[in-house]
C-alpha cells in the first residue's frame, strides 16, 4: 500500500534551546538533522560514553518535567522544545539504574517523538522521526528508506524485525529503537516486507522520491505462531525458535476444561503428545502410570523421565500411589515435555529418558481472585468376560470331592463328575461396582506490584470399582461370618494437597520465588485385592470359597481377611532467586527439598468357619513398612548476552554456565510380626518374624557450558557440554555429554517468497548425549545377614550375595533429531514433525557371572548392549473455522516408533526372562512364546495332554509390547464463546498383550473340543489394534453479562466423559492396562487379577470471582 503524503512527510518545526549555553535551534536544525539521520548506529557509542546510570521515579508528571530531571541527574546535553504538546503528557514511570539515553527513550515511548544525536555528536535532541527524515532527504542527496517498527499500539519499538526490500538480497534487522534503514535506494514505488516471529507479516509499498528519504512507521500485530512461544530449557527461558529441538508445552487448565483430570498422568495422556506414551497399571484408584518418552532404551535401569517441579528434582518413580500424581493438576501453570537426550543433555544425570518440567501457578498482581471448582465422577468398567467353567469330581481312591480339571483326569488323580459354568458378568458373581470420585478445589491469587501470591488447595476421594461379589455375601451369610468393616469396604484413595507460591520483587532486578507443596494420600486396599481373580481366572485355580460353594456350600472354609492401608505424606519446598544485574545478564538459582514419608501397615488373619462351630479367628500376621526419603536439589545458572558492538546487528551470542547438585537420603524399615493374638491388630503385639532395614544414600553433581548463537535473527545454533559425577560413577571423560543443534527460520530468508499459505517455516536438527547412571548396588558388592551352624552353634554371618561390577559406566544415549515447524494459513494451521534416532550405548544388562566367581544368583550388570529407538512424530493443529461466534479446532498427533537391540556383547547369547527375551535384532520389550504347531489325541482318550501337543522347539517372537503406531484425534467446537464441545480419540496398533481370558472350558471340561484343549497348553499372545474414545465433553460458560450482575468473573458447568469406549481385537477387557512393573516393560496383564480402567462420567463446576 502507499502511505498518504501527509503521513510520509511530516516536519517538526521547533527544537529550542532549553537552557543557556545550548545551541540555538534555528541555526542548528539543518546540521543536526543531517547528523541525526546518519548516526543512528553511533548512538550506541553515546550510550557507552554516557554510561552513568540514573534512576527516575515519577507519578503523573509531564514528560517535560521528567526530561528535566534526567538532565539534572546526568551529564548529557539534551535538546527539546519546551511546551511541545507531546511533552505535556502526563506519565508515571519508575526506572532504576538505566542509562540516560534509555531513560529518555522510555519516557518518550508513549509519544510520537524520538531522540537523535546532535550535529556535534555530543548531545541529544528530541524530534519527530518523520520530520528528521524529511529534512535530511533534502540534504543527503540520495534516496533512503528509514523506518520504525513498533507494536500494534505504536508505542513500543520492536527490535530484531527482519525487513526485506524487494530486489535486495540482504535484509535489514531493526535495532533496539525499532529503526531500520536502506540507503542508495532507487527512487520510485518500492516494496518492503516485514517479518517477525510472533507477529503477522506485512508487505508495504512505499514511494521513494529521488534523493529523498521515506520514513514508514510500521505497526505489527501479534499472531499466534508457535515458534514465538517461550519454553523452558536447562539454562532458562528461551523462545522456541531459538532452540533446535521440539518441546511440548501443556496448559493443564485448558485440558481440565474439557477432560476429566485427576492427576499429572491424566494431563499427559489427555495432551496426546507425540512420542509420549502413558501406560496404566490398572483401573484401581491411585494406580501409577508409566510414562515413556520416545520409547524405552534401558533393559535393567529406569526408563522413567526426570521430573522437575519449579526447579526441584522430584522422585517420580513408579509406586502406588504415584508420587507424580501427588502434584495437584490445579496448581500447575504449565507442563513442558522435553523429549530425548538431544534436548535433555543439560538437565543432567538420568535425563536421557526425557524431562518433564512442571511450573506452578504464580499469582497475578491485582485484586484477589478466587476460583472454586467441584467435580464428581461416576465410573464403571465395561466389556464382558467369557463364561467360566469349573470341573468337579472325586479323588481317585478316597472318593473325596475335589476340583477335577482335565490334567488331573489325564493323571488319573480324579474322576470328573460335572462341570459348572458361571457368567462373571452376572451381578451375582461380578466383583465390579461403581467408581465414585469427589473433588473440591479452591484457588486464590493476587498481590501487589512487588509481591504476588497463589494458593491452591484440593481434596478428594475415590472409591474403587472393586467389590465383594454377591455370591460371597451369600456364602458368608450361610457360614455365619460377619466381615469386619475393612473387609467390607472397597479400595479407596483419599488425596489432599496444598500448593502455595510466592513471588517477591525486592528490587527491580531481583525476583524471589517460593513454592510450598504438601500432599497427603491414604490408600486402602483390602482382601478384595487378593481375591480379585476368584470369580474370573483364578476361579479355576483351586479350592476357593467360590468353588467350595458350588461343591458343597456347607463345607468348612477358610476366610483370609487382609487389609493394607498405605499413607503417604510428601512435601516439596522450592525456592528460587533471579538476579538481573543488567539487561543482558541473568543469574538463576534454585534450591529445593522433596521429602516423602510412606507408611504401609498390613494385617491379615485367617478365619475358619463351619456350620456347626461357626467362625473362629486365628492368630494374625502384620507388617509395618516405612520409607523416609529426602531429595535435595541445588541448581545455579548464569546467562548473558555478549556485547559485540556493531556485530550485534546480525550476531547474537548468549553463553550460559551452570551446575546442579542432587542428594538422596532414604531410610527403609520393615517389621514383620506373627502370632498376633485374636482381637489385636497392632504391630506392637505378636512375635517378631523378621525385620529389614536399608539406608540408601547417593549424590550426583554436574556442570555445563552452553551457548546460543544467533545469526541474522533467523539462524540459531545451540552448543553445550555437560560433565556429571555421582556417588556411583566418578568423574571421567566418559561422563562428558555434548550437544549441538541448529534452528533455521527459513521463512525469514529473503529468498522465501512471502505468501498467504505459509507464515513461518523452520527446520531444526539436534544431536546430544545423555546418560542414566547405574545404581550403587550394581557397582559395589552386596552383603546380607545370614546365619551358619559353626562349631555347634548358630552364628550370625555376613553373606556376600553380589560381587558388583566396578567397571560399570553410565548407560549413554545418543540422540539425533531432525524436524520442522510450520505455521500456515494465517497461523491457523500448525504442523510439527520430528524424526528422532536414539541409540542407547553401554546398555546395562544383568547377567550371570562365571561360576569361578560364585553361584548363579551372584548376578551382575555389564555394559554390553546397544538399543536403538526410532521415532517419527507429527502433530497438526488447525483452526478450521475461526469466526467471531464460532471456532472449530482439530488436532491430530501421530507417533511411529520402533525399538531394537542392535548389539549384544560378543559371544553373548539371548537373555530370557519370564515371557520376554533380550536378543539381537529384536525389541527389548518383545514377547516370545512357543507356538502350538499341532495336536493329536494319540491314546484316543478324547483328551489332549501336554504330551499330545506339538510346540515349536524354541520360543519365537510374537511382537512388541509397545505400540508401533499411535495416533490421536481431537475436535473442539466453540459456539458464541459459551458452548464448548470437545472429543478425543486415540488409536494404537501393532502391539502385543497377553490375555488370560481364553476360555477355561478347554482346561476343565473333558467334553471340550480338542482344539480348545490344545490351546490351553500355550500362552495367548496376539497383536492388537484398538481405537479408544478417550473423552467427550460439553461445557457451558455463563455469559459475562450475567456474571456481572452477580459479581462473578467466570462460571462454567461441564459434563465430561472419559474412557468412553474401546474398539479392539483384543480378547479381554482392556489391553491398555499393564499390570507389569518390570524394568524391561513386560506387559503381563492378567484380566483376572487386574481391573480395567472404568468409563467415567464427570460433572464439573467452576466459579471464579
Amino acid at each position: 500500500m502507499k502511505l498518504p503524503t501527509s503521513s510520509r512527510f511530516l516536519f517538526l518545526a521547533g527544537v529550542v534551546v532549553s537552557s543557556p549555553g545550548y545551541l540555538d535551534s534555528q541555526s542548528v536544525i539543518p546540521q543536526v538533522a543531517q547528523q541525526f539521520i546518519a548516526s543512528e548506529e553511533v548512538l550506541s557509542d553515546l550510550i557507552q560514553q554516557k554510561n552513568r546510570l540514573i534512576s527516575i521515579h515519577a507519578k503523573d508528571r509531564s514528560i517535560e518535567s521528567v526530561l528535566r530531571e534526567i538532565l539534572q541527574k546526568s551529564d548529557i546535553r539534551l535538546f527539546f522544545s519546551p511546551g511541545n504538546p507531546e511533552l505535556q503528557k502526563k506519565i508515571t514511570i519508575s526506572l532504576d539504574s538505566v542509562t540516560p539515553l534509555d531513560a529518555v527513550n522510555l519516557v518518550l515511548r508513549t509519544t510520537k517523538l524520538i531522540v537523535g544525536k546532535t550535529a556535534d555528536g555530543q548531545g541529544l535532541m528530541i524530534r519527530s522521526a518523520s520530520d528528521t527524515t524529511r529534512k535530511s532527504s533534502a540534504v543527503a542527496g540520495s534516496s533512503s528508506i528509514v523506518g520504525v517498527v513498533t507494536d500494534s499500539s505504536g508505542t513500543k519499538p520492536i527490535s530484531g524485525v527482519t525487513v526485506i526490500l524487494t530486489g535486495r538480497n540482504n535484509p535489514e534487522i531493526t535495532n533496539e529503537q525499532g529503526i531500520f534503514r536502506f540507503d542508495n535506494v532507487s527512487p520510485g514505488d518500492r516494496q518492503i516486507m516485514v517479518r517477525m516471529l510472533g507477529f503477522k507479516s506485512q508487505s508495504i509499498n512505499i514511494l521513494v522520491e529521488d534523493a529523498g528519504v521515506a520514513t514508514p512507521r510500521i505497526r505489527l500485530s501479534a499472531s499466534a505462531t508457535s515458534l514465538s512461544e517461550v519454553v523452558t530449557t536447562a539454562t532458562g527461558q528461551q523462545r522456541r525458535v531459538e532452540i533446535a529441538h521440539d518441546i511440548a508445552k501443556i496448559s493443564p487448565e485448558k485440558i481440565m476444561e474439557r477432560t476429566p483430570v485427576r492427576t499429572v498422568a491424566d494431563i499427559l495422556e489427555a495432551a496426546q503428545i507425540p512420542g509420549v506414551l502413558v501406560q496404566r497399571q490398572s483401573g484401581d484408584p491411585g494406580s501409577p502410570t508409566k510414562i515413556r518418552i520416545r520409547g524405552i532404551g534401558s533393559i535393567s535401569q529406569s526408563n522413567d523421565p526426570v521430573v522437575i517441579l519449579d526447579g526441584v528434582w522430584i522422585d517420580a518413580s513408579t509406586s502406588r500411589p504415584s508420587k507424580l500424581d501427588d502434584i495437584d493438576p490445579a496448581s500447575i501453570e504449565t507442563i513442558e515435555v522435553i523429549r530425548g537426550p538431544s534436548a535433555a543433555t543439560l538437565f543432567g544425570q538420568d535425563a536421557s529418558n526425557g524431562v518433564i518440567v512442571i511450573t506452578s501457578k504464580k499469582g497475578q498482581a491485582g485484586p484477589t481472585r478466587w476460583n472454586l471448582s467441584y467435580n464428581r465422577d461416576w465410573g464403571q468398567t465395561y466389556g464382558s468376560s467369557p463364561l467360566l467353567h469349573k470341573a468337579l469330581g472325586t479323588q481317585t481312591g478316597i472318593q473325596e470331592p475335589q476340583w477335577c480339571p482335565i490334567p488331573n483326569v489325564i493323571s488319573s488323580l480324579c474322576r470328573q463328575d460335572s462341570v459348572i459354568s458361571i457368567d462373571p458378568n452376572n451381578r451375582l458373581f461380578s466383583r465390579e461396582g461403581t467408581e465414585t470420585n469427589n473433588r473440591y478445589t479452591v484457588q486464590v491469587d493476587g498481590g501487589a506490584q512487588n509481591v504476588t501470591y497463589s494458593l491452591t488447595a484440593s481434596t478428594g476421594n475415590t472409591i474403587g470399582v472393586r467389590r465383594r461379589s454377591g455370591i460371597e455375601n451369600i456364602r458368608y451369610g450361610i457360614l455365619g461370618y460377619v466381615p469386619s468393616s475393612e473387609f467390607n469396604s472397597p479400595s479407596e484413595l483419599k488425596r489432599s494437597s496444598l500448593t502455595t507460591t510466592l513471588a517477591i520483587n525486592p528490587a527491580s532486578n531481583v525476583t524471589l520465588g517460593l513454592t510450598l507443596t504438601g500432599s497427603q494420600s491414604s490408600l486402602r486396599d483390602n482382601n478384595l485385592r487378593h481375591s480379585w481373580g476368584l470369580s474370573s481366572a483364578s476361579f479355576s485355580g483351586g479350592l476357593s470359597l467360590d468353588t467350595a460353594f458350588y461343591d458343597n456350600p456347607l463345607r468348612m472354609s477358610t476366610i483370609y481377611a487382609d487389609e493394607s492401608p498405605l499413607k503417604t505424606t510428601s512435601g516439596i519446598i522450592s525456592s528460587s532467586v533471579q538476579y538481573r544485574p543488567g539487561e543482558i545478564f541473568v543469574i538463576n538459582g534454585n534450591f529445593g527439598v522433596e521429602k516423602t514419608a510412606r507408611k504401609e501397615f498390613t494385617f491379615s488373619r485367617e478365619t475358619f468357619c463351619s456350620l456347626n462351630a461357626g467362625c473362629a479367628d486365628t492368630t494374625g500376621r502384620a507388617s509395618d513398612r516405612s520409607e523416609d526419603k529426602s531429595v535435595y536439589t541445588l541448581r545455579l545458572n548464569a546467562s548473558t548476552s555478549l556485547n559485540l558492538g556493531a556485530l550485534n546487528r546480525f550476531l547474537d551470542i548468549r553463553p550460559s554456565v551452570g551446575g546442579d547438585y542432587r542428594k538422596t537420603d532414604q531410610h527403609n524399615v520393615e517389621i514383620y510380626k506373627k502370632d498376633i493374638p485374636v482381637g489385636m491388630r497392632t504391630i506392637s503385639t505378636g512375635n517378631l518374624e523378621r525385620s529389614l532395614g536399608a539406608i540408601i544414600e547417593n549424590a550426583t553433581a554436574g556442570w555445563y557450558l552452553n551457548s546460543t548463537i544467533g545469526l541474522f535473527k533467523r539462524i540459531y545454533f545451540d552448543v553445550g557440554v555437560r560433565q556429571d559425577v555421582g556417588s556411583a560413577i566418578a568423574s571421567s571423560k566418559d561422563a562428558i555429554y555434548p550437544k549441538i543443534g541448529g534452528s533455521w527460520l527459513v521463512s525469514d530468508e529473503s529468498f522465501w517468497r512471502q505468501n498467504r499459505i505459509v507464515n513461518s517455516f523452520r527446520l531444526r536438527s539436534a544431536i546430544g548425549h545423555a546418560a542414566v547412571q547405574p545404581d550403587m548396588g550394581d557397582i559395589y558388592g552386596k552383603y546380607v545377614n545370614g546365619v551358619e551352624f559353626i562349631d555347634g552353634h548358630f552364628i550370625n554371618t555376613a553373606d556376600l550375595t553380589s560381587i558388583g561390577n566396578q567397571s560399570l559406566q553410565p548407560e549413554r544415549a545418543v540422540e539425533m533429531e531432525i524436524g520442522f515447524d510450520l505455521d500456515a494459513l494465517g497461523n491457523r494451521l500448525n504442523l510439527i514433525g520430528t524424526y528422532a534416532h536414539k541409540l542407547n550405548k553401554n546398555t546395562l544388562i544383568e547377567r550371570s557371572i562365571p561360576s569361578s566367581l560364585g553361584p548363579d544368583y551372584f548376578r551382575r550388570k555389564e555394559n554390553i548392549a546397544r538399543v536403538r529407538n526410532r521415532n517419527f512424530e507429527l502433530s497438526a493443529n488447525g483452526r478450521i473455522i475461526e469466526r467471531k461466534n464460532m471456532l472449530l479446532i482439530l488436532n491430530y498427533a501421530l507417533t511411529m516408533s520402533d525399538n531394537i537391540v542392535s548389539r549384544l556383547g560378543n559371544g553373548i547369547g539371548p537373555f530370557a526372562t519370564l515371557s520376554s527375551r533380550i536378543e539381537e535384532g529384536y525389541p527389548i520389550a518383545g514377547v516370545w512364546t512357543r507356538a502350538l504347531l499341532g495336536y493329536r489325541d494319540i491314546n484316543g482318550d478324547g483328551l489332549i495332554g501336554q504330551d499330545e501337543v506339538v510346540l515349536s522347539d524354541s520360543a519365537s517372537y510374537v511382537g512388541w509390547t509397545q505400540p508401533r503406531y499411535r495416533a490421536s484425534y481431537g475436535i473442539s467446537f466453540t459456539l458464541n464463546n459459551q458452548f464448548v464441545f470437545d472429543s478425543r480419540f486415540a488409536y494404537q496398533s501393532r502391539y502385543v498383550q497377553r490375555s488370560n481370558r481364553y476360555t477355561t472350558l478347554g482346561s476343565e471340561d473333558i467334553n471340550a473340543p480338542l482344539d480348545q484343549q490344545a490351546l490351553t497348553h500355550v500362552f495367548s499372545h496376539r497383536p492388537i489394534s484398538d481405537l479408544r474414545w478417550n473423552s467427550a465433553s460439553i461445557t457451558y460458560h455463563i455469559p459475562k453479562s450475567v456474571l456481572a450482575r452477580i459479581g462473578g468473573r467466570s462460571m462454567s458447568v461441564s459434563l465430561q466423559g472419559n474412557n468412553l469406549n474401546l474398539w479392539s481385537n483384543y480378547i479381554g477387557r482392556d489391553p491398555g492396562v499393564n499390570s507389569g512393573l518390570l524394568a524391561i516393560e513386560e506387559q503381563l496383564y492378567d484380566d483376572g487379577a487386574t481391573p480395567p480402567r472404568p468409563r467415567l462420567f464427570v460433572l464439573d463446576f467452576k466459579l471464579g470471582f
Binding site: 548473558t640 549424590a699 554371618t797 553373606d799
Partner: protein
C-alpha cells in the same frame, strides 16, 4: 565497577569455580553411607565382629560346598550309589542326578558338572574379603581367623583341583575392586597355589591348635597330590592325636532375619537318611570297595544299617550309611588320622617297611585290629587307599584318591573307576568313561577367558 561489570565478574567466577570443581566434583558427591539397600552397612565389616561375621560366612559356604562335593564324589565313586528298587512301598527310587560317569552331553559341554564348583569359588572370594577386613583390625587375637581364611581358600582350591578337569580358572573379585575373569590353570598349578595359601596360613602366629591343624593337613593334602610325599609328611609330623578341625557336615540354613528355625538344606545324610534313595553297594562297578561283608562285620568308620526290602520283587538287602545320621553331624575335616595316612603314604613311597605302622596306629585309636601289610607293592597301595577310603568316607576325598591312583601310581582307569554295566530301575546301563567333573555351565557361558578343560585326564 558497575553492576554489569560485576555481573560479568561473577559469571566468570562461577565458571572458574565450576571448572576447578570439575576435578573435585567427586568429593562433592561422596556420601557417608554408600548403601544400596544392603542389610549390612559396609562399616560393620570394619569391626572385629563384622570381620568375623565375614569369616563365619566363609566357613558356612565351605561347609556347604564340601558336603555337596562329598555327596557327588560319593555318588560317582562307589561310596554311595543310587539303586532304584521298584517296590510297592515307593520309598526307593531313582536319584535323578545319578550320572555315574556316563558320557553325558550337557548343554554341549561333555561331562558332568560339579554342582559345588561355584560354592568352592565363593569360598575363595569370600575368604579374600574376610581377610581384607580382618587384617584392617590390626588385632593379634584375630590372627587365627586370618590364618583360617587362608586355609579355607587353600582347601577350596585344592578341592577344585582334585575334582574338576584340568583348567580351572581362579577368577578374582577383591573387595571393592573390579572382578577379573580367570583363565584356566592346570591341575598341578592349582595345587601349587593351594600350597602357597596354606603356607600363608601356617606362617601366621596364633595359638589355635585346631586352625594350625587345618592349615597343615590342607598343605599335606595338596602336596600329596603333587607327589611331594616327604614334604607332606614333614608338615604333619607334629600333629597330635587329639588335634582336629571339625566341620559340621553340611548345614545350610535360611537367613536368620526371618526368625525361623534353621533347616538343613542339602546334606550327604539327607539322600539315604531322609529321602532314602541311595545305598552303599559293595564292589560297585567291579572296582569299588567292599564296604561290608555282613551286618556283623561293619567297619566303625563306615557304619551301615542293613534292611531287607519287602516288595513285589526279590532284591538284596538295602544298605544305608549311618555315619552321617543328621543334618548337623560333625566330621573331621583335618586331624590326626589324616596325618597318619600322609605319613604312611610317604613311607610307602620310600619303600620303608614301617609304612604300615601309621595305618595301624590310626586303626588302634578306634579299636580296630592291626592290619597286616601285604607283600606286593600293588597290594600295599590298595591297602593304603582302602584305609583312606574308610577313614574319609563321605568327606569328598575318594575321587581325588582315584585320580591319584591313576596319575601317581600308574593304575589303569579301568582298574580304578567303575566299569561295565549296572542296573537301575530294572534297566541296564553302561558306566561311562569320565574320570573328573567339569565346571558348571555358567563358567563355559559367562567367562570369556575360559576355554574349557585343558584335559579330562585323571
Amino acid at each position: 565497577m558497575n553492576n554489569i561489570a560485576k555481573a560479568r565478574l561473577y559469571s566468570w567466577a562461577i565458571l572458574a569455580t565450576l571448572m576447578l570443581s570439575g576435578c573435585s566434583l567427586d568429593n562433592i558427591v561422596k556420601v557417608d553411607k554408600p548403601q544400596t539397600g544392603n542389610d549390612i552397612e559396609h562399616e560393620y565389616f570394619d569391626t572385629r565382629e563384622g570381620s568375623l561375621a565375614l569369616l563365619y560366612s566363609v566357613m558356612g559356604t565351605f561347609q556347604e560346598a564340601v558336603s555337596t562335593t562329598s555327596r557327588e564324589v560319593s555318588y560317582f565313586t562307589d561310596e554311595l550309589v543310587s539303586r532304584s528298587v521298584n517296590s510297592s512301598d515307593g520309598s526307593l527310587g531313582d536319584y535323578s542326578s545319578d550320572s555315574r560317569f556316563e558320557v553325558v552331553d550337557w548343554r554341549g559341554f561333555s561331562g558332568v558338572q560339579l554342582s559345588s564348583y561355584p560354592l568352592l569359588h565363593t569360598t575363595r572370594i569370600k575368604s579374600s574379603h574376610a581377610r581384607y577386613f580382618l587384617k584392617r583390625q590390626a588385632d593379634n587375637s584375630l590372627n587365627y581367623a586370618i590364618s583360617a581364611s587362608y586355609s579355607l581358600e587353600g582347601y577350596a582350591i585344592a578341592m577344585l583341583a582334585e575334582n574338576v578337569c584340568s583348567g580351572v580358572p581362579l577368577s578374582q573379585a577383591p573387595y571393592g575392586q573390579a572382578a577379573v575373569y580367570g583363565r584356566g590353570l592346570p591341575t598341578d598349578s592349582l595345587f601349587v597355589i593351594a600350597v602357597a595359601k596354606f603356607d600363608s596360613a601356617i606362617a601366621i602366629e596364633h595359638d589355635s591348635l585346631r586352625f594350625k591343624t587345618l592349615a597343615k593337613i590342607g598343605k599335606a593334602r595338596a602336596l600329596s597330590s603333587l607327589g611331594r610325599y616327604q614334604e607332606a609328611s614333614d608338615v604333619v609330623t607334629d600333629i597330635g592325636e587329639n588335634e582336629m578341625f571339625n566341620l559340621t557336615y553340611t548345614e545350610a540354613v535360611t537367613p536368620v532375619t526371618d526368625g525361623s528355625t534353621p533347616q538343613p538344606l542339602d546334606a550327604f545324610w539327607s539322600m539315604p537318611q531322609v529321602y532314602r534313595f541311595s545305598e552303599i553297594i559293595n564292589r560297585e562297578g567291579n572296582n569299588g570297595m567292599m564296604w561290608y561283608s555282613n551286618a556283623s562285620s561293619v567297619d566303625p568308620r563306615v557304619p551301615v544299617t542293613v534292611n531287607q526290602v519287602n516288595g513285589s520283587f526279590s532284591f538284596p538287602a538295602v544298605v544305608r550309611q549311618t555315619k552321617f545320621n543328621s543334618g548337623n553331624v560333625v566330621f573331621k575335616l583335618a586331624g590326626w588320622p589324616h596325618a597318619k595316612m600322609v605319613e604312611a603314604e610317604n613311607l610307602l613311597n620310600k619303600a620303608d617297611p614301617n609304612w604300615i605302622v601309621p595305618i595301624n596306629d590310626a586303626r588302634r585309636s578306634i579299636g580296630l585290629n592291626d592290619t597286616i601289610a601285604p607283600s606286593s607293592e600293588s597290594q600295599k597301595i590298595d591297602l593304603l587307599f582302602r584305609e583312606r577310603a574308610f577313614w574319609f568316607y563321605g568327606q569328598g576325598t575318594r575321587l581325588s584318591d582315584m585320580r591319584r591312583l591313576v596319575r601317581q601310581y600308574g593304575r589303569a582307569v579301568s582298574s580304578v573307576y567303575p566299569i561295565g554295566i549296572y542296573t537301575r530301575s530294572r534297566e541296564v546301563f553302561s558306566y561311562g568313561d569320565a574320570t573328573v567333573f567339569i565346571p558348571t555351565s555358567a563358567e563355559f557361558v559367562e567367562n570369556y577367558n575360559y576355554d574349557g578343560c585343558i584335559h579330562k585326564n585323571p
